[in-house]
Symmetry: C2
Subunit: 450 residues, 2 copies
């Protein structure tokens, strides 16, 4: 795109102009633009103008797939095709208390599929799988690809962070979007998520697209649009895809915070845990089994998931993965070995009535303020802090009763978080008219819906 | 906008997001953004995303005036308020053979107003006033401001190029627009033109907005929109404004090329010259007299302009300005002292009939190819080349008769230009149904239209 690569005959300026004028870009044009940027031949200022044009003019499905593929191929694409079982994964768009990945990877591996899961850190008010795993003493999320493969071969699942070799175009583009007001485009979100996930060399992917006050996409129609876009993009790239639009109007389960969430994950793998979290894990596991051709229906998938938990096989896989990735496997059986905050404080109800709503994003921010996430990129995370809910939306509550227990290490942070948490709970005289369903919608090929 | 200027409380990212979402930006936000960019605190990649958002979402009139004013105030604003007469100027959006500035500055100065004219170089297929002036041996367009003022005081007009101190924000933004597909926005065009012109410290400005095959804005409605935008922006900034939408469907006058156009300017100042060029000069001069409060009507202005030419006072002013700016004043009386190309070649009509159309942009490109303009920024200009038309649209023509004479110095360039020129003339059996008027529309406050 620079004079040195003029031989491709595709100029960056023409790619920008076409998108500005809402003309569909060809595969070759998108490839040249993304490759030129990854190589450093095209400057940031041309790409940011193009990103704004994409955000405002949109993309066709073909363009979105081309962009995803170009970003995917900008780096290493893992190849586990020699391994005997189907490879599947799950991706969540992020929420508060969303710890399903830690349950799903071992359960689905116990069911005979392979789960090569590359995850992220906390972002904004949401938690991150890597931060949660690192609260397990010794757990290493930074495995080189060869060791990632070894763990996968030995126990059927492995969970690591993004390597420098995977989708470098996405890393550059994401950093640019963050400072140019171009984060919110569904087309760019789709390409970012899918290029990283498909670099895992998987056959099928279930998307857990969150909607509600604790999701990035608060509007259900926006979330559904993104879900459909990602499903179609994955299918165009030859993958088995499904998306569940799920509720994030209150935290998932009772626990939020890194080691606290690991404790709840272990509860679920032991056959306990709160209904919403358990139900969502079974549902997502069932879809992973279905897309991995392990079973023929969601109903069978749910049954298999329950069986793998009841039999202790899921917990056993989790313990095995923890050990293979350098973590202390005894922490799986004795949660007292996990980091624990020094202090706790009860957030109590100011009156009797019903919990009618939780400002979910605010509770996530409270967790970040306590140290459970990052206020600035360079911050380190405190694995022990967070909160444990005692009530969920619809529950009856008495005046002075505890709504949640805050776990903290700093009085100053606790004071800020307390104010936020207290303001997050809405207490009414009557129970809420109608509870939101856990799963709002399923987006998948019609033959697969049950 | 960077951490160092966070005290303004206005963040670049928020300014980008607001424009992206079509929210009106405040004066303070636009100031902070433009000043931050000029100082180097805001990077190119944020500004280019914002420029694309402006192009696609537009601006209100208040935002356009704020942007123009912020760009104007990014550098030096000349102040001639101590000089006794009103200061006026004319700006053209560019065309082929458009040499009116060289007639207007001396004529209007001879009429008693001051004309501090800062002009540009050739751009694309269009000629530039500075390039034309530099074909006069010795003429210096790079005067420091103090000397510009001195020439203005002594003869009432001076013509120079943009100094580094004037509107530095425009220079940075223009370079960025050129490589990010954001040239075409009327709001950005308006702010770019008006910030530079109003830095001249003028009281009134006439805009000559070109439309037709040789203009940048080929569509008349686009040109009218830009004209109205510029008039309103100037008025909001306290200037007397008018815009003439004029025809650029064929070259203006007969001569195109730098020294060739100076020859035609001298013809006009001597009372000769082609009707379209002469009429447009009188019309623009009349508007300058009106906006400079020199007279009460356009009709009086036309008369005064004719008188100043007939009496030789305009030519005398031109001679005086040439001399004050280091040029050889004898060239004004003896055009043989101007640069002359080594060769000429006739472009003849392939058949008898009528000249029904000229592809005006193509003739401008032919002139650039001959060396009269720049194919690349670093090219130097050949002052002597160009073409002289012998026929204009509507004229009858015989087979083999010359349509124009090409003046050239390079056989290779001549061959390329000849092919372009030959293809530019359209010969039909009947005369064109209706000739386009020279002045399509006048945009000014209603009381000023005659």
């Amino acid at each position: 795109m620079s004079p040195s690569s003029a031989s491709t005959n595709i100029r960056a300026i023409d790619v920008i102009r076409k998108k500005r004028d809402a003309t569909e870009l060809s595969r070759a044009e998108i490839d040249a633009f993304i490759n030129g940027y990854t190589r450093g031949d095209i400057p940031d200022y041309q790409v940011s103008a193009w990103l704004m044009a994409v955000l405002l003019k949109g993309m066709t499905r073909a363009e979105t797939a081309s962009l995803t593929d170009a970003m995917l191929r900008s780096g290493e694409v893992l190849d586990f095709s020699d391994l005997p079982a189907r490879k599947v994964d799950k991706h969540s768009t992020g929420g508060v208390g969303d710890k399903t990945s830690l349950v799903l990877a071992p359960v689905v591996a116990a069911g005979g599929l392979l789960v090569p899961m590359i995850s992220g850190r906390g972002l904004g008010h949401t938690g991150g799988t890597l931060d949660k795993l690192e609260s397990i003493p010794g757990f290493n999320v930074n495995l080189p690809v060869a060791q990632f493969r070894k763990v996968l071969e030995r126990c059927g699942c492995s969970m690591i962070g993004q390597t420098a070799e995977i989708a470098p175009a996405d890393r550059k583009i994401y950093a640019l979007r963050d400072v140019t007001g171009t984060v919110e485009s569904p087309f760019l979100i789709c390409a970012s998520i899918m290029s990283k996930k498909l670099a895992e060399g998987i056959d099928g992917l279930v998307l857990d697209v969150k909607t509600g006050s604790g999701a990035f996409m608060k509007n259900e129609e926006d979330a559904a649009y993104l879900a459909e876009l990602m499903v179609e993009t994955g299918e165009r790239m030859g993958k088995k895809m499904a998306a569940l639009l799920t509720d994030m109007d209150q935290p998932l389960g009772y626990y939020a915070g890194n080691s606290l969430e690991v404790i709840e994950v272990i509860e679920v793998l032991r056959g306990g845990g709160p209904k919403d979290l358990v139900d969502l894990c079974h549902e997502l596991a069932a879809w992973m089994f279905l897309l991995g051709d392990r079973l023929k229906s969601i109903a069978e998938g749910r049954q298999l998931s329950k069986h793998l938990i009841d039999s202790g096989k899921g917990l056993e896989k989790f313990r095995q993965m923890v050990e293979l990735q350098g973590g202390n496997p005894r922490a799986v059986d004795d949660p007292r070995l996990l980091p624990k905050a020094q202090h706790t404080l009860e957030i109590t109800s100011p009156r009797s009535g019903f919990l009618t709503a939780i400002q979910c994003e605010q509770t996530g921010i409270a967790c970040v303020i306590l140290g459970g996430g990052r206020e600035r990129k360079e911050d380190s995370v405190d694995p022990s802090v967070g909160f444990v809910l005692h009530k969920k939306v619809g529950d009856q509550v008495s005046s002075g009763e505890s709504l949640c227990t805050m776990h903290y290490n700093s009085e100053e942070r606790a004071a800020r978080a307390k104010a936020l948490l207290e303001a997050s709970f809405q207490i009414g005289e009557a129970p809420p008219a109608k509870l939101r369903p856990l799963i709002h919608r399923v987006i998948a090929k019609s033959g697969e819906k049950n």
